[in-house]
Structure formats: C-alpha cells, structure tokens
C-alpha cells in the first residue's frame, strides 16, 4: 500500500507579527486519490493550511511553521516552493496572476522548461495537459483573449504539465461566472477520475457534496472532519463553522426529518414518501409595481473601440424603490449596462435617462449624488489612511461644508455597521472593506445604488451581513440594482431579474417565471437555488426555504 498523499502532525503556523497562530493543532492524513474539501469562515486558516503544504509559508510569507508535513511519505521541511513543483500544485482564485505568457502553449511550457523536462518530451506533455482541461485547439491563442473559465483552466494546465500527484485549489471558482464555474468543476471531476489527490478550498456546499472528506476549520483548528453527508446535513455544525447550510439540510431540520440527503432527487423522494409535498397558493401575490419610473434605458447600444458590440438595443425601465438583479454570463454586457446607469460609459446609440434627464449630459457631481456605483473589488477605491477619511472623500469632492461632511460620514458608517472610524482601511478584512466601499458611496446619498457582485468572495456570515444591509437600504426607499451570479441571493432578496445574453436583453421580469424556465436558465448557464429545484421536482417554484415550509404547512 502506498503512503498517504498528505500527512500532517501537530501542524501550526503563526505569521510574522501575528499574535495568534493562523493554524494550530492540525493532525490529518489524506489517502492518495482522495478529494478533500476544506471549508470555513474568512480567517479560519483555510488558505494558510494550503500555503503550509506548498511551503509558500514560510518561503514567501514570513512565519513560523511547526509540526510535520509529509507529502507522499517524504517530509517537506526545508524545501523551497520551486523544488516541490511536480509534487504538489496550487491554483489560486486570481487567475490573472497565474498566467505569464503571451501564448497558450508557452504558458504550459513554462513549468516544463524550469524543471529540466527534456524538449523531446514536451509536445506530448503539453497536449495531455491541455486535453485534461479541455483546451485542446487553443494552442497559439493569446491568454488575454480567453474567458475567465478558460484562463483558470489554462493555469491548471500549466501545473498539470508537471504531473503533480497532489493539487490544491484555493477558491478556484469564486471569480468565475456560472458557466466558468461549471467548466472548472468538470476539470476537477476529471482529475479525480485520473487518481490525483485533490484538496479544494470552497465556500459552496455543492462542490463539497462530492468529496470523500470535508474539513471544517474555525479559528485555525479543524473543528469537524467527516463524510460530506454527515457534516453538510448538520445545520448547527455548518453555522458554527461559518458555512452556509444547504437548503435541503435547513428544510429537513425545520421539518424534523433526520439524515438529509445531498441530492435534490433523493430529497424529493424522501419528502414524497413522508407525505410532505408543498402546495403553493393558487396564485402568487403580484410583485408590487414600482411607483414612478426613475431610470429609462431606451434602445441602448454600446460598441467598444475595437468594434465589438457590448450592448445591442437594450430597453428597460427601473422604477423608484425597485430591487433588481442584473445577471448574465461574463462578457454578456451586464457590467457595461450597469456603467451606463451612472454615466461611466456613454451610449453609442440610444439613451439612458434619469428622471427624464439624459445621464450622459449630467455633470459628474450631480450624477454621483443620484446614482452610486460600488465596484466589485473594494481595493479599487480604498486609499485613505483612516475609515472616516475614506468615507469623507466623496462628500468633500462635492464641496460640502465640514459639519455636513461629518454628519454624512457618521450616517454612512452607522448604516453599514462599521464603527472603527480610525482604523486603517487596508487592515480591515474583506467583508468590512466591502461595507466600507458601500459607505463611501452612501455618503453621497444617491437615490439609486448599483453594486457589482457585492457578495462575491465573502463568507456566509459576511454575505448575510451585506444582504441585510442592502435589504435595510431598500426598505428605507433606495432603488437597488445588483450585478450577481449567486442564485440564492437573487431568489431571497431581489424582486426582478434582468438577464443579458450577448449584449441583448433575454429576460426582464419577476423571479418565479424566470426560475421555472429551464430553457432560459440553461441558456444563461444559470442554476436555480437548491430549494427552487427541489420545489420544481415536486411541481412548484418556491424561492426560499421559508416559503417552501409555509407551503407545506398550508396542507395541514
């Protein structure tokens, strides 16, 4: 019998300058060929664990690593990161940072050239690595012209060419759209079938369901380690580890049913045999119509300087107080459309009007006060030395008097529940930085808030917090438009879906018909939330677990 792929004994890691260890007391053995999924809240030590295995700590990030790490029976103590290439590979969330070449083939060749692989062996290795990630035929393409999913797959191919028996994936799909995500998950399944040992760090429970073993980390310690069915079927264990429990698990717990299954079909069978089939009301209360039209988009077209059409004849109207989800694959034009709403981009043809006035002609300071735009990456805008300075930047640009600026800063920070006024924005964690970015826009008191993927990259707790914030703002009368890829965020919080495909409007309407239209969902590479899919298997279209439960209790 071969040695286990990974053996950790009393592993602990403390970053230089940190007071507490990022990872401690980890004892773990992972057999060869297994798939392990590591889950936990931000800061639980998931990435640190991965970095210890690849020796990124302490080789790149200074820190103290104690305990033993054996890979394939060999201790890795004193090895450099580069020396382990070919033994262990690691894929990051940021796929752009993992590509260094101007050509797909050269990208795969890179590792081979640096690990003494003879040139005669290279063509076969390149072909196999590209085939494993489904990029055969992409040889010679410029990586900058690839989609996100293709880029991430290329980064994987670059590592696979070195034939490492162990691969680590640190949130490989977080920055991808649903289609890209599916592509990468498919690659993972193929690598597993080929016998590679895989360690995947993920927030999404769907990936974990297929694992051999799931680890929950909390404050640097492994708090639970078990088969996915056990851990993901336990609402309390999930919540304690900062993991969003699967819909089916929450539903079964609420109904008092034991052993929730991981598959939708199995769950539907169990409910059927228990006689718990939901009965939706004969008709759903109509979504309240918006009061007055606020933003009018008419025949909007946008053409990039290179001649590509990003938007083609898009028309829609957003009313006061609406909560709209703008969705579509990456490159479908949704961000381009969003950027027209506050004049960051000007239409090539057509118009965008805000209360009847052409947005493109409004002066900047007026626009900033009407339509706020929060970028996906908060780090694209944070620059000040303190949190309050950061929020004060916008109001100061408007030339407001000091007292008013102070008032707005206090108001905005209170709204996002951020109280460390003098903290350095760069030292806040990702969720707090995201909320700070929202506060810095709220201080301009815009009527409309446009947010580009406000929950991407956040853990469950932070996502909840961000969504509660948006729900509060919406309840207070703000019009909100979010660009998102996350089905349950749409189902639980928004009231209307706008779907773009290849620059055209594919769907614009309420949620329920959208999630009931399999063809539309498939075209958008979109998947309904688990609870909706379960409902569909039982003949109805619930949007949330709460709604599903209400429909069941209607029976009795």
């Amino acid at each position: 019998m071969s040695a286990p792929a990974v053996v950790l004994r009393r592993l602990a890691c403390t970053y230089a300058g940190a007071l507490r260890p990022a990872v401690r007391d980890v004892d773990w053995e992972l057999p060869s060929g297994a798939l392990a999924v590591v889950m936990g809240a931000t800061g639980a030590g998931k990435s640190t664990l991965a970095r210890c295995l690849t020796r990124i700590v302490p080789c790149f990030l200074p820190g103290e690593v104690t305990g033993d790490i054996d890979l394939l029976g060999v201790p890795v103590r004193d090895r450099a990161v580069g020396e382990l290439a070919g033994t262990i590979g690691m894929v990051f969330q940021d796929f752009e940072a993992q590509l260094f070449s101007t050509d797909v083939t050269q990208e795969v060749v890179f590792g081979l050239e640096h690990t003494s692989v003879p040139a005669a062996e290279m063509p076969e290795r390149i072909a196999r690595a590209l085939a494993a990630v489904g990029l055969t035929g992409f040889e010679g393409r410029d990586p900058t012209t690839l989609s996100g999913g293709e880029k991430q797959r290329l980064a994987i191919a670059g590592l696979l060419a070195l034939r490492p028996p162990i691969m680590i994936f640190d949130e490989p799909t977080t920055d991808l759209d649903p289609a890209g995500r599916a592509e990468v998950l498919q690659v993972l399944a193929r690598l597993r079938a080929e016998g590679l040992t895989l360690v995947v760090i993920e927030h999404d429970t769907a990936t974990a369901a297929a694992a051999d073993v799931v680890l929950f980390l909390r404050e640097g310690k492994v708090v639970a380690r078990d088969a996915p069915g056990r851990l993901l079927g336990d609402v309390d264990a999930c919540l304690a580890a900062g993991v969003r429990p699967p819909d089916v698990t929450r539903l079964f717990a609420a109904l008092g049913l034991p052993d929730p299954p991981l598959g939708i079909e199995a769950a539907a069978d169990r409910l059927r045999s228990a006689g718990l089939v939901p009965r939706p009301p004969a008709f759903h209360p109509p979504v309240p119509r918006a009061r007055a039209s606020l933003l009018e988009v008419r025949g909007l077209c946008h053409r990039y300087p290179d001649g590509r059409d990003a938007l083609l004849d898009v028309s829609l109207s957003i009313g006061e107080g609406e909560f709209v989800a703008l969705i579509g694959r990456n490159g479908s034009g949704k961000t381009t459309l969003a950027k027209h709403l506050n004049g960051l981009l000007a239409p090539t043809a057509g118009s965008v009007r805000l209360r009847g006035r052409e947005v493109a002609f409004l002066p900047l300071e007026q626009l900033a006060q009407r339509v706020g735009y929060v970028f996906q990456d908060p780090d694209h805008q944070l620059f000040a030395a303190t949190v309050s300075e950061e929020v004060a930047f916008g109001p100061r640009n408007l030339g407001l008097p000091r007292a008013e600026v102070d008032e707005r800063v206090a108001e905005a920070l209170a709204a996002v529940d951020l109280h460390e006024r003098d903290a350095d924005p760069f030292l806040l964690d990702k969720g707090a930085r995201q909320r700070l970015a929202v506060a810095s826009i709220l201080a301009l008191r815009p009527d409309v808030l446009v947010l580009d993927e406000p929950t991407t990259g956040l853990d469950h707790f932070e996502q909840q917090r961000m969504l509660e914030l948006l729900t509060r703002l919406h309840a207070a009368g703000r019009t909100i438009v979010i660009v998102t890829h996350t089905p349950w965020v749409i189902a639980a919080h928004t009231r209307r879906v706008v779907l773009l495909a290849e620059g055209r409007l594919r769907y614009d309407g309420p949620l329920r018909p959208f999630f009931a239209d399999e063809e539309l969902l498939a075209a958008a590479a979109f998947r309904a939330p688990d609870v909706t899919r379960l409902g569909r298997a039982l003949g109805c279209t619930p949007l949330t677990v709460e709604e599903f439960l209400a429909w069941i209790s209607r029976r009795s």
């Binding site: 690849t54 050269q106 070195l162």
Partner: protein, 254 residues
Amino acid sequence: MPLTLYVPAPTVLHRLHPVTKLGLLGAFVVAAFVVDRPLVLVPLGCAIAGLLALAHAGASVRRLRVMFVLVFVFTLVVWTWFFTGFFRPSYAGFLYGLSTAIRLDTFLAAGLLFLSITRVEEVAYALGRLGVPYAVGFTLTLAFRLVPAFFDAAANVVQAQRCRGLELASGNVVTRLRRYVPIIVPVLIGALRRADRMAMALELRGFNSGRPRTTYLRARAGRADAVAGALALMTMLAYLALWASGVGRLAGRP
C-alpha cells in the same frame, strides 16, 4: 485589449529564426539611420511596407495609423519652420524635415514588422541566444503580461473614484497632483499584491526549482533564414555604401 502587436499568421516571415528577425530589424534601422535623402529612403520604406503586407500586419498598421501620421506631420512641420531659425520656413528645412519624417516612420514600420512576426517569448529566446542573461528576457516577457493588467486596473480605479465625485481635470498643478493620490494608491497597492501572487505562482510552476533549464523553442535556421539574412545584409551594406559615397546624404546638413 492585448498589448502585443503579434499577428498569428503562418507566413514565411513568422517562421524565420528569432535571431534572423532581430537581424532584419537591426539591418533596417541601420540602413534608415545612415542616409537622409528622401529619395533614397523611399525604397527602403516601400520594402518594409511590402514585408508588412506579406506578414498580414495590415490590422496593426491601422491600429497605429494615427501615430504614423502624427509623427510624419509633426516632424515635417517643425523642421520646415525651425531649421534655419525661429519661425523661419526654409526649403532646406522642408527637405530635411521630409527625410526625418520618412526615416522616423521607417523606424516605426520596422519595429512594427518585428513585433508583428515575433512573439515576446521569441524575443526573449533570441536575446538569450545572443548571450543576454535569461532574467532580462524573462522580465521582458512578464512586462507584456503585467502592463495591460496594470492599465486595466488603473482604468477601473479612475472610474471608481469618479463615482465618488473626483474631478481630475480642474484646478492648478498642485491640486491636480493631489487629486491623483486616490488613483495612485489603489493602483500601486493592487499592482504590488498581484506581483506578490504572481511570484508565488511562478515558483509553484518550478521557477527556482534548482534544476537546470531546458527550452521548448528550438528554432532551427533554414534556407529562408539564409535568404532573409543575405537580403538584409545586402540592404544594409548598400545603404552604408550610399552614405559613404555621399549620395545618400543631403547637402547643407548642419
């Protein structure tokens, strides 16, 4: 938008050995540098234009057309008016301006031709073959990856700060410079973070593995290289001869 001007086309020019391509570039630059009579420069310019067409680089030429025209017009106007004195147009100045304008455009075209038929990796390889350390060639390759990402990030940051009412184009020089702080800080921090991650990704792929390097690109020089090299050499020698004999030079150059 990709930064590279490389045109992926299977032409005879693309298949040349990287060192030959570098040689072609060198020969054309030297030839255009040593002569300054417009009439003598024109055939060289035409030859390069022909090669650009052969390389299917029409799209690249169109991409840079404004630059070609700007360089030409600006050079011609400036020399014509300032050759003999401040705002004193002269025929000699016009001639000299014309020659410089053609020469600069020729340089531009030669560079464009080189970049159209040569991958950045090939440049690194050619430099390596000529004895330049690997680190230099590799840094060059990496720059081509990083620079567009850097500009993308910068464009995003500018938009993000505009959303917060930042007006860049107003006020005096000092206030304008101050206005760039909210742009520069996020761009720099983002670039540093990315560079850090990139360094990790490089090592994970075996950079600094301690093992000797091998190379995939093993271009072999063929008959086409011999022909291209000979033609380039002859062109360069011919232009050097024109220069030495004085035929290629304008009279009255200061």
